[in-house]
């Protein structure tokens, strides 16, 4: 994946750069908004990571200029501003996702995976399959190895998101935002409890688990190799 990284803080930049290169991505890095825009306008990146506050040209203006020039590259905003207002402003300007500092690289990596492959994900389909787990989106039915499984509304949404993101890691905050539309960090185990209930229904009665916990990162659903 070709990644454009626009970040003025050297420590954060080196950190993200190191992580991305280690994961095998090709990264171009710049530390100010004007250079960032010049590179972004070439348009051959799979995803861009842009800091909200930059010297030269701020992230929001950079993003607006990109969108005005019809550059569709998915953009993830990095920000030290934690307000909901800033998030809404960023998303309204055309950002695909938003990550508040401080963040773990694993969280960034999970989110980049989700937005860079988004076009393929939005394809209309009425059935999802992961291994022997099947989901019928029209009838809202789930079966594993032919056995019907009853799911509650949120469990169904959770499983659908996991199946659509097969093989990719979804972080706890990604699930909170997507499934519950929560934009704060709950003090209780909302995600963990729902995951454990879902796991009890789709995995426990069967031999091979599909739903895996990635420690300190999140969850992933994948078919056995």
């Amino acid at each position: 994946m070709r990644v454009l990284l626009v970040e003025d803080d050297a420590v954060t930049r080196e950190y993200v750069l190191g992580g991305l290169r280690e994961a095998g991505h090709v990264v171009d890095e710049v530390d100010d908004g004007v250079d960032g825009l010049a590179l972004a306008l070439r348009g051959d990146y799979d995803v861009a990571v842009v800091d909200r506050m930059l010297p030269g040209l701020d992230g929001l203006s950079l993003l607006k200029a990109m969108r005005a020039a019809n550059v569709p590259t998915p953009v993830l905003f990095l920000t030290a501003l934690g307000g909901v207002e800033d998030r809404v402003e960023g998303l309204e300007a055309g950002a695909d996702d938003y990550l508040v500092k401080p963040f773990a690289f694993s969280e960034l990596s999970a989110r980049l995976g989700a937005i860079s492959r988004r076009p393929a994900r939005t394809m209309e389909t009425s059935r999802l399959n992961v291994g022997d787990l099947e989901m019928d989106l029209i009838r809202r039915e789930v079966r594993r190895a032919g056995t019907p499984i009853e799911l509650l509304n949120k469990e169904f949404q959770l499983l659908e998101y996991l199946m659509r993101s097969e093989g990719r890691v979804l972080s706890r905050t990604m699930l909170l935002e997507r499934i519950w539309d929560f934009h704060f960090d709950p003090q209780t185990t909302v995600v963990e409890t729902h995951i454990s209930r879902l796991r009890a229904k789709i995995d426990r009665p069967f031999d091979i688990p599909l739903l895996h916990t990635i420690k300190n990162v999140g969850y992933t659903l994948r078919a056995p190799a």
Partner: protein, 468 residues
């Protein structure tokens, strides 16, 4: 700070402009009436004098003729003038000393008559008029001439009517002008009021548009505008400071986390240090969370989010929370019940969905964390005449009355919960969100347990307040 309520005067209360306008109309009308009255009298007196002078002049002309040697010259002239003149307007009469007519018009005049004013009926003329009659008794003749006041009276009354009409027209024009001026003044005051309301509702960039005449209202507007500039500069300054703090502190905290993560990855998997590094990372995460919560409270208290307020149904909020927390409470060995006592239209409020979700999520999490195993948590929505109320109650240990106010402050924690999870900011954040919504957050005793109720204005009332 910015939500001082505006007291609206009743509409029927006359504005200072309207009172001034009414005074102007009164003065204009009174002036016209006085001038008219004087003009009427002046014109009347003048015309009376002219009428009397005309009668005297005519008499002097006859007297002049009477001095000619031939008396027939006088008599012929008198007959000719008498025939030409309208007997209703002019009197020409010549008689001998005994009162027998020698020439001129018919006249019924008492023998002893003197110069003076007579009614037409008394002298055999138009009974509706008055006449000035000059009786000139010469040694051998009596010369009588007269003039009707009719013309002068009709001119005077024409003058009077003209002035009355002018007064009326002036009064109407003055009223229209005064009304227009009053409207303009009223509109400008309304504009000032609208601007101040907009600022109070959070639109700090709103300013009074200055209009042409540089009068007292414009001066006032300029001063209000400069006060508003000052206010928005101050608020912008406060925001800038919190943004700077956020940026300047988050970046180092971010670096700290990054360095810890690197350190951790370089340690041997079974090393005891690795465990400690994990603990330090947890501490760093906790630090971030506390910092986020504090920053969020300040942002909410700055009040900028009101611009995004919209109509929200409280039952929708509780339905979303139910889908998140029902299983969490079950897992914690508690039961949670959601009750909606009134329909949507009575439980509609004006607010920000994300913030209200967070407010009630905090209250529910507070109950889950502190009420203990086996507790019963009740989330209830009901409406009163003035308020839509959503409450979260539990039957746990509750909060002693003396400490209830304090738990709404930042970092305050009850002695017994110091060791448990949480940063002491949950209720402070809930309180700040309630305040932003002009909602009343109350803590009360459930005997046993804690009940936290948040009372909102009904949407119709809240949006009216916002528009006005």
């Amino acid at each position: 700070m910015l939500d001082t309520p505006f007291v609206r005067l009743p509409e029927s209360f006359p504005s200072s402009h309207l009172r001034l306008a009414m005074l102007v109309v009164g003065i204009v009308s009174l002036t016209y009436l006085c001038v008219g009255w004087f003009a009427y009298h002046a014109v009347g007196t003048n015309l009376t004098q002219r009428t009397q002078a005309a009668a005297r002049l005519s008499n002097l002309e006859l007297e002049e003729l009477s001095r000619s040697p031939d008396v027939r010259t006088l008599l012929e002239e008198a007959n000719s003038r008498g025939a030409q003149a309208d007997p209703d307007d002019t009197i020409i009469w010549v008689g001998d000393p005994s009162g027998v007519r020698l020439a001129g018009q018919e006249l019924r005049l008492p023998g002893s008559a003197q110069t003076g004013d007579y009614d037409g009926a008394d002298i055999g003329r138009d009974p509706e008029d008055r006449y000035h009659v000059v009786v000139n008794r010469l040694p051998n003749l009596i010369l009588v001439t007269g003039q009707s006041y009719e013309e002068s009276e009709s001119i005077s009354s024409f003058v009077l009517v003209a002035f009355l009409i002018a007064t009326l027209v002036a009064a109407v024009l003055a009223s229209i002008l005064a009304w227009m001026l009053a409207q303009r003044g009223h509109k400008r005051i309304d504009a000032i009021e609208r601007t101040l309301r907009a600022v109070a509702a959070g639109d700090l960039d709103s300013r009074i548009t200055l209009t042409k005449p540089n009068d007292d209202l414009s001066q006032l507007s300029v001063k209000i505008n400069s006060a508003l500039d000052q206010l928005s500069n101050t608020v912008a300054g406060i925001r800038q400071v919190s943004v700077d703090i956020a940026h300047d502190l988050r970046t180092p905290i971010n670096r700290l986390g990054i360095r810890l993560e690197r350190l951790q990855s370089e340690l041997q998997p079974d090393s005891r240090l690795k465990e400690q590094a994990e603990e330090i990372r947890d501490e760093a995460r906790q630090l971030t969370q506390t910092f986020d919560a504090l920053l969020r409270i300040s942002q909410i208290e700055a009040g900028a989010r009101r611009a995004r307020f919209q109509a929200l149904a409280l039952p929708e909020i509780s339905a979303r929370l139910k889908e998140a927390y029902e299983v969490v409470a079950e897992e914690a060995g508690q039961s949670i019940r959601f009750t909606v006592r009134h329909s949507n239209n009575l439980t509609l409020v004006l607010g920000d969905m994300d913030l209200l979700i967070q407010l009630f999520a905090n209250l529910i999490e507070n109950a889950i964390c502190h009420a203990g195993r086996g507790a019963q948590i009740t989330v209830e929505i009901h409406a009163t005449e003035n308020k839509a109320v959503m409450s979260v109650a539990d039957n746990g240990p509750g909060i002693p009355e003396a400490e209830r106010e304090k738990v709404l402050g930042r970092f305050y924690r009850l002695e017994k919960s110091r060791t448990s999870k949480g940063n002491g900011l949950g209720l402070a954040l809930a309180h700040a969100i309630a305040k932003l919504h002009n909602a009343d957050l109350q803590l009360s005793d459930c005997n046993p347990g804690l009940k936290v109720s948040v009372a909102f204005a009904h949407f119709q009332d809240a949006s009216k307040e916002g528009d006005a």
